[in-house]
Amino acid sequence: MREWLMGPMTLTHVIGMALVAFILLNILLGLVTYAIYIQRKLLGWMQNRIGPKHVGPFGLLQTIADVLKLLVKESFIPNNVDKSLFLIAPVVAFAPAFIVFAVLPLSENIVFTHLDVGLLFYIGVAGLSSIGVIMGGWSSNNKWSLIGAMRAAAMMISYEIPLVLAALGVVMLAGSMNLYDIVTSQATSWHIIPQILGFVVFYIAALAELNRTPFDLTEAESELIAGYFVEYSGFRFAFFMLAEYVYLFAMGTLIALLYFGGWLPPHPALSFIPGVVWLAMKALFFTYLPFWFQATFPRVRIDQLMTFSWKVLMPLAILNIVLTSLIKYWGFAG
């Protein structure tokens, strides 16, 4: 696959790439469609409900019906919005969500980009989405969406740091920022064991990064009505939602890669199951875990969130780096 990707640029090559990209996009969209379905089912079961059941067998076509509804809705732009920003914001929020998949290796053989700064690239590009959110919130000419956008900015600044610091522990152990190398370095034991503290910090920061409960402040329905996308409807709204769900998958995959050995089976005896299946299982678990939180937790307050980030997560992340250095120094692992 790598050879093919790195091969000379001919016309057929470009068309082939475009085709592959298109297919991947559709696979991802299909995954998102059913992630929403499974989310609604899971939430329903947790909340003493049934969840979608009428559209298609077992409600399997419910999300498709919802998406179709959004697509055929009138493309409405409110008066007095900053039109260019308003139109471009969903795309800016949505594009990075797909770009990050470029650096996520999905198995030993499915590696799109062998990027040596893969992790850094992921975090950097994922941060771009916040700009889309802020653009959307700012341009909407709505005070609620402005507050939502400002919260998004504040959250991005405070949670990106513990996120990166926590991930540094893994980088130190693996000695590389290349996600492929990070996975291969876990052949003997997964990073979760020495990095349990780092993992907890990383996951909490990731939840905030993804705007999931209990950190769903930017779109806090009961406070900000819908947050930054109050004024969005139709397919632009769908873009924002899509970005959010794609990030869930990306983050689930990243966690599986960083801490849970990616496509490596838990025991060599289980290696007859293809790596991509292992990765999918791990990634989907961490993709769906936030839905469980969503059914359990209320929302924290913005000041509590900031306090938690700077006074709890940051020191813990730094402590984790110190511990990791000691582990490295005495050579317990790696």
């Binding site: 939430l43 947790m46 909340q47 003493n48 409900r49 005070k143 609620w144 507050i147 409960t213 209990p214 769903d216 402040l217 806090a220 329905e221 009961s222 406070e223 900000l224 009505i225 969503q294 059914a295 359990t296 937790f297 209320p298 929302r299 924290v300 307050r301 913005i302 000041d303 509590q304």
Partner: protein, 367 residues
């Protein structure tokens, strides 16, 4: 230093967390509230004025629509005032039915508060669990009175309907048993949650003097340590026959109010349990009265403990079938007056938590 400006933010009347058509115009500096202007009246129907042209029995449906979450208690407040004015004897079976209906309704009302309050705080699941329990109560009420929300169940001198069959008492007992477990589940799911406690503890606390000065009643008063509950202070109906406690907290913050409402559901459950145990086997459900009720000329003020506080009814009668003047002391309206004081200096997230903690019903605020 950046130049910053205050922003006027219009909250409601269509905001999801103002629990109806309540509107607050807040001035915010960042997310901190520096100015508050509540606007009420979107649901004003002039109940008191309308009532002057209605016979006493005709007013009952209007009381349903004031505090629509506890219509039974609203009904009772009115008929209780008329009965006091007429010095009526109420049949025992009717009193029991009233107590059971009112206390079940108090549980139902607190359940709506519990669910929507947690929704305000961002937790979606408790809402559905609370409404599952409430549904059972509404089912019982539908069997009893034919309605799920606006019951118009009480009549002057008694109640309109007897229990539909003997099984109703058994079904109510089953609910009471199940509800004990449900309350435990609520505590397991919510009360111990760190985030809930962090959101509620120490927020928007006020002291006893403030509470009394603002005329707060109900949970909003008892959260500051005043043991005032009309059911105990001025017993009405047959509340003196049942054992129950008046839970009190002293902190006056949101957490105290949360704990109190949860504790009150347990106390109401106890009352219903006792009432169902000693429910009289037979007897009249309404006193013998003429078709057209003419209370003697005079005035009367009586009050009952609604889920929101002291619900008072003042009637000035000139001996006609219609009241000369009727006034409702609506606890939601009175309790709401402290809101601007509580909101100043808080942020948007606390704002919804504070509005929710006062537990207003807009039908009652605007009447």
């Amino acid at each position: 230093m950046l130049r910053t400006e205050e922003m006027v933010l219009n909250v409601g009347p269509q905001h999801p967390s103002t629990h109806g058509v309540f509107r607050v115009i807040v001035t915010i500096d960042g997310e901190t509230i520096v100015g508050v202007k509540p606007v009420i009246g979107y649901l004003h129907r002039g109940t008191e004025k309308l009532a002057e042209d209605l016979t006493y029995t005709q007013i009952i449906p209007y009381t349903d629509r004031m505090d629509y979450l506890s219509a039974m208690i609203g009904n009772y407040a009115l008929v209780h005032a008329v009965e006091t004015l007429m010095q009526l004897e109420i049949p025992e079976r009717a009193e029991y039915l009233r107590i059971i209906a009112m206390e079940l309704n108090r549980i139902a009302s607190h359940l709506v508060w519990f669910g929507t309050y947690l929704l305000d705080l961002g937790a979606i699941t408790p809402f559905l669990y609370a409404f599952r329990e409430r549904e059972k109560i509404l089912q019982l009420f539908a069997e009893l009175s034919g309605a799920r929300l606006t019951y118009s169940y009480m009549r002057i001198g008694g109640v309109k309907w007897d229990i539909p069959d003997v099984g109703w008492i058994e079904r109510a007992k089953t609910f009471i048993r199940e509800f004990e477990q449900a309350l435990k589940d609520f505590h397991d799911l919510v009360s111990g949650n760190e985030i809930v406690q962090a959101r509620l503890k120490g927020v928007a606390a006020y002291d006893q003097e403030t509470a009394i000065a603002y005329g707060l009643t109900g949970v909003n008063l008892r959260a500051t340590g005043v043991r005032y509950d009309v059911r105990k202070a001025k017993p009405y109906s047959i509340y003196d026959r049942f054992h129950f406690d008046i839970p009190v907290r002293t902190d006056g913050d949101l957490w105290a109010k949360y704990e109190l409402r949860m504790a009150e559901m347990e106390q109401s459950r106890r009352i219903v349990e006792q009432a169902l145990e000693s429910f009289p086997g037979d007897g009249a459900i309404i006193a013998k009265l003429p078709k057209l009720i003419r209370p003697p000329a005079g005035e009367v003020y009586t009050s009952v403990e609604s889920p929101r506080g002291e619900l008072g009814v003042y009637i000035l009668s000139d001996g006609k079938p219609q009241p000369y003047r009727i006034h409702f002391r609506r606890p939601s309206f009175v309790n709401l007056q402290i809101l601007p004081k509580l909101l100043l200096g808080e942020n948007i997230a606390n704002m919804v938590a504070i509005i929710g903690s006062i537990d207003i019903v807009l039908g009652e605020v605007d009447a």
